[in-house]
């Protein structure tokens, strides 16, 4: 407990920004253990809204919060505790909204009287540490990626990798897979993709925010995974794209559904978002993995917000929806700068329509 408190102090003072995410889990433990204490500390005015959950979406909500404060007067207090904690807290009604990378199941949504809608999308990318290999020089398929993480392929010069990378001199190094040790929406997205791409992975390992990894080492947060891969020759890990981009990590190309190799970037994420079948997804729980669009990056996901449909205080619920309405209207440039993909306009319109289900909430349409 003492160490958690210490990490929180470091975090608040911002003394060590590079370590933020790594330290989050510690702080999150403390906060998750004391939800009412942590969030009930300051009695909020009507225009102060509280949210908790996804660490993936935390940077964009933070940036939107700062920008929206001057524009709308609504100030946001967002706690990046992790998607699971975000779901727990909105079910317990200790926050005004929860944020989760994994969509909540339809029956759980209705039994807890929650409305779910997506806000932005982002990509997850594999990163490697192979001396002499440039970013996006290595080409992989989902099938092979799963075999690398399951330990089935244990050497980088394996014929299966060589076949995908003719002309590339692959080193005779052991494959050292690195995964997230903390429960994470990123892991959920990544393992969902591996399950979709490799039936063996689906039957033996599966997909969840934390799983029983067949091989490799775990590290905490995107920073932890990136640092461990950097320290380990032959290492392979997965991080959110915004993180890989900011830190110039060695990413790989992946094969899209059409059979072409695609590099991870804003463009290939947008193609995946455009190709998704939004209309037939209940509660907007759309499948953005391995979509059919040409040049679409295969590991893309949306991040979701959960709001109560029977809010205790309709004025606060209106403020929450008003905040995301502002984000949809004015937040796209901020999102793009941070490598998040804004929702397509048609999806934004149907999200706005769904807001009528929140009792008593008023949002300017």
């Amino acid at each position: 407990m003492r160490s958690s408190a210490t990490s929180r102090t470091v975090l608040r003072s911002g003394a060590c920004p590079g370590f933020r995410q790594t330290l989050f889990a510690g702080a999150a433990t403390l906060l998750a253990a004391l939800p009412t204490l942590a969030l009930g500390a300051a009695p909020a005015a009507a225009a102060d809204i509280t949210g908790a959950g996804s660490t993936f979406a935390a940077p964009i909500y933070g940036a939107w919060g700062a920008a929206a404060k001057s524009a709308t007067g609504t100030s946001l207090n967002y706690q990046a505790l992790g998607s699971g904690a975000g779901q727990n807290q909105v079910i317990a009604r200790t926050v005004d909204f929860g944020a989760s990378d994994a969509p909540m199941a339809a029956d759980k949504l209705s039994s807890n009287q929650l409305l779910q809608f997506p806000t932005v999308m982002g990509g997850v990318v594999p990163i490697v540490n192979l001396p002499g290999i440039a970013p996006n020089q290595i080409k992989l398929t989902g099938e092979v990626l799963a075999q690398l993480f399951s330990g089935e392929i244990s050497q980088w010069n394996d014929p299966k990798i060589a076949a995908l990378n003719p002309g590339v001199k692959l080193p005779d190094t052991a494959v050292a897979p690195v995964h997230r040790a903390d429960g994470s929406g990123t892991t959920f997205v990544f393992t969902s993709y591996l399950s979709k791409a490799n039936p063996d992975w689906k039957s033996k390992v599966g997909a969840a925010s934390s799983i029983s990894w067949p091989a490799g080492a775990g590290a905490k947060g995107n920073d932890g995974v990136a640092a461990t891969v950097r320290n380990t020759e032959g290492g392979i890990g997965y991080v959110e794209y915004a993180y890989a981009d900011k830190n110039h990590l060695t990413t790989t190309e992946l094969k899209d559904k059409a059979g072409a190799f695609v590099a991870p970037n804003f463009d290939s994420f947008s193609k995946a978002a455009a190709a998704a079948d939004w209309n037939n997804a209940p509660n907007f729980a759309v499948d953005l993995l391995d979509t059919a669009g040409t040049g679409a990056w295969p590991i893309v996901s949306a991040t979701f917000v959960l709001v109560p449909t029977n809010p205790k205080d309709p004025a606060r619920a209106s403020a929450v929806l008003g905040f995301f309405d502002w984000g949809f209207r004015n937040g796209a440039p901020i999102a793009q700068k941070m490598q998040y993909v804004p929702l397509p306009a048609a999806v934004q319109a149907s999200v706005r329509q769904s807001w009528s289900k929140v009792a008593g909430a008023k949002v300017a349409q």
Partner: protein, 323 residues
């Protein structure tokens, strides 16, 4: 401890107040102090109850098999305590194996070898080391020790001792740098000051006449330490070691950084593992309320508390007998 505080407080209070206070001041204060004492008991009992209550679903689902099942699979909802318990005990034992000789050397140097002008600052430095927050050890371990283990220690051990048939498995696996040995090493650095401080106090409390007699008979410093000081203070030293063990068992933040966080049991010292404390810290935020996983984490918390209690109890027992 409580005994000495009490005897110290009463005369001071009496002399400071001059005349004995009348009325209910004394009983009120007495009641207040007793309540404080009781509150500690209530807290401990309450925490245990919450852990046991929260973990009841895990115990009722998996039965006692929870204790020795190596599975930890959130996808299939099968949980067992063996892998984290194994990691907890192995890292603590590695930590002790390194820390005890080191701490003994520190205490020996402080009490027998160092001149007075050096012993003072050195003793303070040991105490300062004990005050370093564990997160600092974690970051130091992650940025300094882990790369060193991956690039130098593991390849070296692999190409030397690793060539021997039985030792081969101890050093196998990809060179992550994280793992049981690294975690044990960090723990050793963290608990050394505690163990050394206890040892120094015990060695210092040794009646001088015993040591002087041995020196008078012509013993060397080492002979005095081995044949007189150690046998005399053996149990208190063991008690101090157990205190260090208690700290090693519960350490969370520093271990989380360097252990590799994988729920697998492997014979290799370099394979990533997990401890109970670090597993709870990592998985807690992503466990849904009312889920079997959350219940299993609370049950693990109970197991860790019980292991720590047994360790502390043993250390108290040995310390009392030694005193």
């Amino acid at each position: 401890m409580s005994q000495s505080v009490r005897t110290a407080t009463w005369p001071a209070a009496a002399s400071a107040g001059g005349a004995r206070p009348s009325g209910f001041g004394d009983p009120l204060f007495g009641l207040l102090v007793r309540l404080c004492g009781l509150l500690v008991l209530l807290l401990i009992g309450g925490i245990m109850l919450v852990m046991a209550f929260g973990g009841r679903e895990a115990f009722s689902t998996f039965g006692l098999g929870f204790l020795w099942s190596p599975a930890w699979n959130p996808v299939t909802n099968r949980f067992g305590a063996l892998a984290p318990v194994y990691g907890t005990i192995v890292t603590a034992v590695i930590g002790l194996l390194i820390a005890v000789p080191f701490a003994f050397g520190v205490a020996f140097c402080l009490t027998e070898m160092a001149p007075r002008w050096l012993a003072g600052p050195l003793g303070t430095a040991v105490e300062l080391l004990a005050a370093v927050p564990s997160i600092i050890f974690g970051m130091w371990g992650f940025f300094v020790i882990v790369p060193a283990m991956a690039r130098h220690v593991q390849p070296l051990l692999r190409h030397s001792l690793g060539q021997l048939p039985l030792l081969h498995t101890l050093f196998s696996g990809p060179p992550f740098g994280t793992g049981l040995l690294t975690a044990g090493l960090i723990l050793a650095v963290m608990i050394t000051p505690f163990v050394a401080a206890v040892m120094r106090d015990v060695f210092n409390s040794m009646p001088a006449v015993l040591k002087e007699s041995a020196y008078g008979l012509g013993s060397t410093r080492w002979e005095v330490m081995r044949l007189v000081v150690l046998p005399w203070s053996r149990q208190a030293v063991i008690g101090g070691i157990m205190l260090g063990l208690g700290r090693a068992l519960g350490e969370t933040m520093a271990v989380t950084f360097v252990i590799g966080n994988t729920n697998r049991i492997s014979a290799s010292l370099f394979s990533p593992g997990n401890t109970i404390a670090s597993l709870i810290a990592l998985e807690f935020p992503e466990s849904a309320a009312g889920s079997l996983k959350l219940s299993s984490l609370l049950a693990l918390g109970l197991i860790l508390m019980l292991i720590s209690f047994v360790t502390l109890f043993c250390s108290r027992l040995l310390l009392r007998r030694g005193a």
